[in-house]
Amino acid sequence: MASQAANEHSNRRYAVGLARAFGGAIIFGLPNLMTMEMWFLGFYLDRPRLLLFLIVNFGILVGLSRFSGFEETASFKEDLLDALAAYGVGVIASAAVLSICGILTPDMSTSEIMGKIAVQSVPTSFGAMIARKQMGGTEDQEEQDVAERRAGYAWQLFLMVAGALFLAFNLAPTEEMILIGFKMTPRHSIALVLASIVILHAFVYGVGFAGQEQAPEGSGFWRLFVFYTIAGYGVALLVSVYVLWTFGRMEGADLGQIVSMTAVLAFPAAVGAAIARLVV
């Protein structure tokens, strides 16, 4: 009897977690769900690249489950279950919102419907995964384990990748990315790169350690700057290139254009990398 009651209790807790996950999926997904370019990408995005991106996204979900997720996790199996559930929530939430808005209709081809949902499932599943932390997670024993796991440098880098990927993915589909690239002169680009680095460092140094992790012992300005800020900007650049490639933005662009588009996208990516360590 007691174990049955306990089971009901844990089921209820999980149900609450799921509800939060849906909330997170909607909040993080809405900017994309209501963006025209994202619907169009659903049917013309190159399929192998979209497939690859979904697999990368799934890996990120499994990794994020280590740090937060809507359930505390103790093992890789649980992380996998968590990631699957979060992806399921993302797909359902995307399909629901797109249908309500009349973006998905029954007379569309399977390819179009699947593509539209697949593109949106990236930000919505991300939101579903980090919802617990965002929407009233509790401090407990396992939270501490999570905090310990955060400390590793590889995990720090992973978090930066996740944050950069999320923000870059949000912005890369819009025409504005290309337009901004055209409007900026090389001087603007250089200024933007420097601004990105300064902002990233401000987050790493000023905000990043508030209640998050201890500044490494005896770490001077340069150590922090090189291992977190510059490494973080490198992550932002690589992620930007990858996202631009996924969206087919590089086709037919010359090197100069690619560099300026990358610099533009690396700005939000750097901000994403910086705040991921606070948000997740």
Binding site: S3, A6, N7, H9, S10, N11, R13, Y14, A15, L18, F40, F43, Y44, R47, P48, L50, L51, L54, I55, F58, E71, E72, A74, E78, L80, L81, D82, A83, L84, A85, A86, Y87, G88, V89, V91, I92, D107, M108, S109, T110, S111, E112, M114, G115, I117, A118, S121, T138, D140, Q141, E142
Partner: protein
């Protein structure tokens, strides 16, 4: 108290594993994940090839309105490649040989999909010859 309860909960979880609901949610998630990956994977393998968009235009319903007659045009893309900025032209040829032309542009006609557009004409298209065709497209 709450702290204690949570500890117990966490120990219990370690012993009995995940709640049933977690398995159900994960199973649904797995199903959806495989569905999306499967559909995209199949499309990847099938590929759009090098086939360019092939758009057929056909005439649908004709409706008289105060602004003139509306000829509904259905655009069917026979290729799996998406066409953007599709120009559509309709020509109404009267018995005396005079021709009236109306055009419109459709933002996107996705691969293997249909989109609808409308053309206005002053004369009743049902009493004259009307031809519609897609003029061209841009790559998205």
């Amino acid at each position: 108290m709450a702290e204690k309860a949570r500890r117990r909960e966490s120990r219990r979880r370690a012993r009995t594993g995940q709640p049933l609901l977690e398995w159900i949610a994960a199973a649904i998630g797995l199903l959806l994940t495989l569905a999306v990956l499967g559909a995209l994977g199949w499309e990847s393998v099938k590929g759009s090839g090098a086939r360019p968009p092939a758009i057929e235009a056909s005439i649908g319903a004709i409706t008289p309105t105060p602004a003139g007659y509306v000829v509904e045009v259905e655009l069917r893309n026979r290729s799996s490649a998406t066409a953007a900025a599709v120009e559509v032209e309709g020509e109404l040829t009267k018995a005396d040989g005079t021709v009236a032309t109306s055009t419109t542009t459709v933002d996107y006609v996705p691969g293997d999909s249909t989109r609808k557009a409308g053309l206005f004409f002053q004369d009743d298209p049902r009493r004259h010859r009307v031809d519609v065709r897609a003029l061209g497209f841009a790559e998205p």
